[in-house]
Amino acid sequence: MKITEYIKKNTLILDGAMGTLLQGAGLSAGEMPEGWNVTHPDIIESVHRAYFDAGSNMVCTNTFGANILKFSAEELEKIISASVKNARAAAMTSKGSQKKWIALDIGPTGRMLKPLGDLDFEDAVAVFAETVRLGVKYGVDLIFIETMSDCYETKAALLAAKENSKLPVFVSNAYGEDGKLMTGADPLAMIALLEGMGADAIGVNCSFGPDALTSVVEDYLKYSSLPVILKPNAGLPRVNGDRTFYDLSPGDFADSVGRLTERGVRAVGGCCGTTPEYISALVSRVADINPLPVKKKKITLASSYTHAVRFGDAPVLIGERINPTGKPRFREAVKSGNLEYILREGIGQEEAGAHILDVNLGIPGIDEATTLTDAVCRLQEVTSLPLQIDTADTCAMESALRRYNGKAMINSVNGKTESMAAVFPLVRKYGGLVVALTLDENGIPKTAEGRVEIARRILVEAKKYGIDKKNIIFDPLAMAVSADKDAAIETLCAVKMISKRLHAHTSLGISNVSFGLPARDKLNAVFLVSALERGLSAAIVNPYSAEVLDVYRAHLALSGYDVNFEGYITSVTEQKNNVEYNITDLKTAVIKGMKEKSAILAAELLKGKAALDIINGEIIPALNTVGDGFEKKTVFLPSLLMSAEAAGAAFEVIKSAMPPEQKSVGCRIVLATVKGDIHDIGKNIVKLILENYGFDVTDLGKDVSPERIVKEAISLDARIVGLSALMTTTLTAMAETVKLLKKKAPACKIMVGGAVLTEEYAREIGADFYGKDAMDAVRYAENVNKN
């Protein structure tokens, strides 16, 4: 019998701790327990056998840390082969008559994935894949991914398991006192991710005793459609003289786990501090519990690495601004590899009130798969909102979905056979909440009835891929009323029909309705309210539109979603900024570092002055004043940056009024933090100040290889390359980069900086200039540009 069948009708008994027992058997601190599979097979086998004798249905191989980061390929194969053999031998020789399975145990790598750490996602997938392949080769029955404390690493492990085996996969996470993983994910976010990717059972282990995990387990029982696992510690460790012990007795442990089993947990065992005695007690405690059925939950979720957004409660706002349509500067920025523009749009929309961000980089002539994936990863560094991956290119869609940390929204599939055949397999593999447009080979039906018909067909087709209705959001397509006066009415009608007849969720790109008409926000706002009244679950909107946000908040207040009207009241109460007192000239506003005020004053000045006059007469003198002060140490770094940001805000406004040839001084600078180094604040400061002075800066980010820096410097025809390093350990990478640049791009000037650098070292590695701070870099760049 397959374990996935067994768990449908029975409570599955797992094993207890391995490490605890091995320490008892003489494993010394710092020694790798996995090695004992080979050196002490008899002991490992006896531990497994003790668990089988106690009544475990499933034991985990002694392979928690068995991966190619810790062992050589040869060692790893020996360890995994021996570990499976030991567990098998135990199953054969145990006196227990229960059903028995052997799970390949996979724990965390011990490294942190990028962007927080330095392990690349695909490298993590490859590490887990190697362990999985060996587990499959030596004949395990299933894969047990456990004690994962990071959402992204959990995804990497599950993906590796799915791609390299057809075995059932159980996934268990370790939660902290705050009910979240170490890197911030809550249970709902993990449930969304793991269910979407096709785990067979999910739950929690380690961390604490069973009682402290109750609220997390309750969330799993409430929201998960999969069997729930609970494998807690034997309480908390305590010291008694030189001895440490866990504070729950086998009886108390079994009792607490038993109570949660009565409420629906389907796979129970123990983690740190538990022994066969605990499992014995647990077996007796749960023997008479009639397992509750595992029910499908109908909740619709999209998630990020911290939280999930739920559809069907308060309507969800999806920010539409990361989209090149009608935005020449956006296109220009993306084409030149500058993703910061996008990141700022992401943060801005989040601050304005969006719950999810649509990400569309459909620009002709770019490598969309690479750019979209990059943008998704970079956005996930600066915002924790779930993203909606919006592309017609299925390669780009797959690449971005794969890297996405969480369960993404996917925009979109439609009723065309070809579209469904391309998109549904991706939803099936990576998970996702997919937006389905109600159009097909014959175009968009004019009537609501026709669109609902397509929706029905999409549901039928999705089912063939195992994609549930809850993971589809229908978009019955908002069309311009300027082209067809009945367009809005039919769309609204379709929203109502889909929600009432199909009991499915809907989303609309609101802004389309007003295309071709003036004062579009007014129309958008009323259209939004009308759609919300008809049951719309989500709306793609411009979150910067005051009209749209106002009606949205009013709708929440009137529909009972805004408890105590807090959201509504806050939104209508004017926010006073008490620092921006009575400053009326742009120069002072920039010197004082007032961002919003500078933008407003720049806009006013533009009415009577030429753009260049404002820059040369107000902004540059202000920057010089602050820059001089900084060099003389009368102005400090935060003030310098505040001024730079204020100048940047003024530039934003002024640039829109300038012809392109005046926008820069025509000197391209490429900046990067060198390979191995993940510090980028210094480099970011230099970039900001250089941009203020009109330089075209391309920022390659942090941890950038010498090859990539050289390639970009050549392709962008950079005059200057600026390199930053903050660690003594990464100075060698800087030296390597300089060497390669001098060889491949000899005309390019190299300036270097960073905390550990000295002028002497800079000279030694062949750099052209050492800058002690951002102003130094500006002066040097100005010099290079003059010559």
């Binding site: 943060i347 007032m594 003030s639 940056l641 604040i681 660690m727």
Partner: protein, 201 residues
């Protein structure tokens, strides 16, 4: 695997020491714009930190050629001097959590001045966490008639940063408090500290 002799403690930190934070931000004279920036950053950080320490006690042996720290050996003369007269050490790893890094990353795009201030607050927070932890240890040891030395971290003086690898295999802070060591010996979360305190009998 979980070794039972390492302990984990969570802390509630006292309010931010503004002068220290400003010092880390390179500000030597407070002006209204800076005060307002600092205040709003402190508000934003509030409630987002997760201050934790994991630690373990080791016997210390002072030999001719090197110090045996119980989890590793070192020939650092500065550490030898700092631990002069000690019989035991406490090795610890402290962190204020990963959200500080996320805030810093977000504002490095949205507002670099804020990012610099958050960096400074993060440094102040993790130093304060170490102070709080050391204070507790000191009080505990004093009650046994013992005394403690100041904390000493890898990278200070001649104690090599490479000791981090031994510290990480001894404490396993990855599993306990979510601190990992990257290949270039940088810790994530970045606002984390490892250090040694000496105990005199």
């Amino acid at each position: 695997m979980i070794d039972n002799l390492v302990f984990v403690k969570s802390f509630y930190l006292p309010p931010v020491d503004r002068r220290e934070a400003l010092r880390y931000a390179g500000v030597r004279e407070e002006i209204p714009e800076i005060t307002s920036l600092l205040d709003s950053c402190i508000v934003e950080v509030d409630g987002r930190l997760s201050a934790k320490v994991c630690y373990r006690e080791y016997e210390l042996s002072t030999l001719d050629a090197y110090l045996d720290l119980g989890f590793a050996r070192t020939d650092s003369s500065a550490l030898r001097k700092a631990l002069d007269g000690c019989k035991k050490i406490i090795l610890f790893c402290a962190t204020v959590g990963v959200d500080m890094d996320r805030l810093i990353a977000r504002y490095s795009i949205a507002s670099p001045s804020r990012s610099v201030m958050l960096q400074a607050i993060g440094t102040e927070r993790v130093e304060t966490l170490c102070d709080e932890f050391c204070k507790q240890i000191k009080e505990e040891k004093i009650s046994f008639g013992q005394s403690v030395t100041k904390r000493f971290s890898p990278g200070y003086s001649d104690l090599p940063l490479a000791l981090q690898r031994d510290i990480f295999s001894a404490l396993n802070p990855e599993a306990r408090i979510g601190v990992v060591l990257n290949e270039s010996l940088i810790m994530t979360p970045s606002k984390s500290v490892t250090a040694i305190i000496g105990i005199k009998m």
